[in-house]
Amino acid sequence: MRLGIYRYTTMRLSQVSFRYRRRDRFVIHDVDAHLAAGDVIELTGVNGAGKSTLLRLLAGLAAPTKGTITGRPGVVGFAPDRFPADQPFTVTAYLRHMSRVRGGARWEPWAERLAMEHLLAVPLGELSKGSAHKVGLVQALMAEPGLLIMDEPFAGLDAGTREALPSIAAEVAGRGGIVIVSDHQGGLRPLPRLRHWSVVDGHLKESTTAAPDQEDSPPVATVAVTLPAADLPHFLARMCDEGYRAREIEESR
């Protein structure tokens, strides 16, 4: 049923510019873009380039100063980069409230899928950053959004959830939704037909080279290696010399 609703969704940004106050400089300049049903878009850009502002415009949290945004799906899911955990609820109480706000959406399957069962009775304020981030993802996903916006969703997540997110994004797109993800970690790169947007000084550029054509590429695997921090530069250099994409994910004690 949802597929029918989303099949013809096309969102269009026409000459969109945005500034916060009248005499401020424009943060977003003359953006023209269209987002079709089934699109998964990776958004990148340096800090302060205007990524979060663009996501807020897409989510409907800010109105363009100039230009128009049309065709936004009726149900939008928004997962911020930092979940506001300073709220007086347990995970269950919070998700129940958000479910009622969403007209009774079912959050339980998403909590199970993101391996959160052991967190349900925990107060939000006692969650780790990654666990709190999962709560933000569940509230965004529970209503089967036609437009799913995730701001840095891979930051702080455990390996299992990191692996699950690309397939979740593909599912939302597969039923006709639009997925747009601000991501510096390349977490969605395994997805075929990934569109790549970058924001440079408020200007939006679409590149077709960032995402390799997965249909013609051999399958790839991502492995985790634990090693002494002092060996890291040498290890990364050696992996790069041998032609592998290697980068540091986290440092722990």
Partner: protein, 223 residues
């Protein structure tokens, strides 16, 4: 969905224990105000004075409720409920419902502890209207001094107190129609004219409350 979001915000206000600030203030004020019963014939004054004196506490409650939600959660709520306008409406519904409960407690305390005789039905209806207007005035003053409009806590608290004092001063002057005329409510009650003058005073009060709320909505949607 707006009601569900309003319920979420009231639940957050209660579970965060911020509600106790307003509860303690209201109970202290009511205990002092109704420490001894007023003589018969003073029912209108007792009821109206209570409605006026509880306004700053109602404003404090509305402000605290609106400020309980973190800004990021406010954005997520706006997306979930279908837009910033609906999120804003849910906040105002929650704030007014909270103010109405506190105003109801104030009215009940005045009837049970403050008056010696039973007010006649017409006076009781007028008192209900005055308490409803007090709840609306408290909601408006609280909203205008909430974090979304005045980010500085110090400025916000000063504005709330000064706003109420300005309301008292202006409504005691010939320019009483430039604000919610709370002192005129009290004078009318003291003179035994509350029922007769309520249409005029109520209309002015309602108009200013709606203007203040419209300004709040405009500022929030513009930001």
């Amino acid at each position: 969905m707006i009601i569900a979001l309003a319920a979420f915000r009231v639940a957050a206000y209660i579970r965060s224990h911020r509600v106790y600030q307003a509860v303690l203030l209201a109970l202290s004020m009511l205990a002092i105000l109704h420490g001894s019963r007023a003589p018969r014939g003073e029912e209108a004054s007792v009821l109206t004075d209570g409605a006026v004196l509880i306004i700053p506490i109602l404003a404090w409650a509305a402000r605290s409720l609106l400020d309980t939600e973190p800004d990021r959660q406010r954005e997520m709520s706006a997306v979930a409920v279908g837009g910033r306008g609906r999120e804003l409406a849910a906040g105002l519904v929650a704030a007014f419902a909270t103010c109405a409960v506190f105003a109801g407690i104030g009215l009940a305390a005045a009837l049970l502890l403050g008056v010696s005789g039973t007010p006649e039905p017409r006076l009781l209806t007028a008192a209900l209207t005055v308490y409803a207007l007090a709840a609306l005035a408290g909601t408006a003053l609280g909203a205008l001094t909430s974090r979304a409009i005045l980010p500085s806590p110090a400025l916000s608290i000063m504005s709330l107190v000064l706003g109420f004092l300005l309301m008292l001063l202006l409504s005691a002057s010939p320019l009483y129609w430039l604000t919610v005329p709370v002192v005129r409510w009290m004078r009318a009650a003291n003179d035994g004219d509350l029922v007769a003058r309520l249409p005029e005073l109520g209309a002015v009060s309602l108009a200013w409350c709606l203007i203040a709320l419209a300004f709040y909505v405009w500022r929030r949607l513009r930001g």
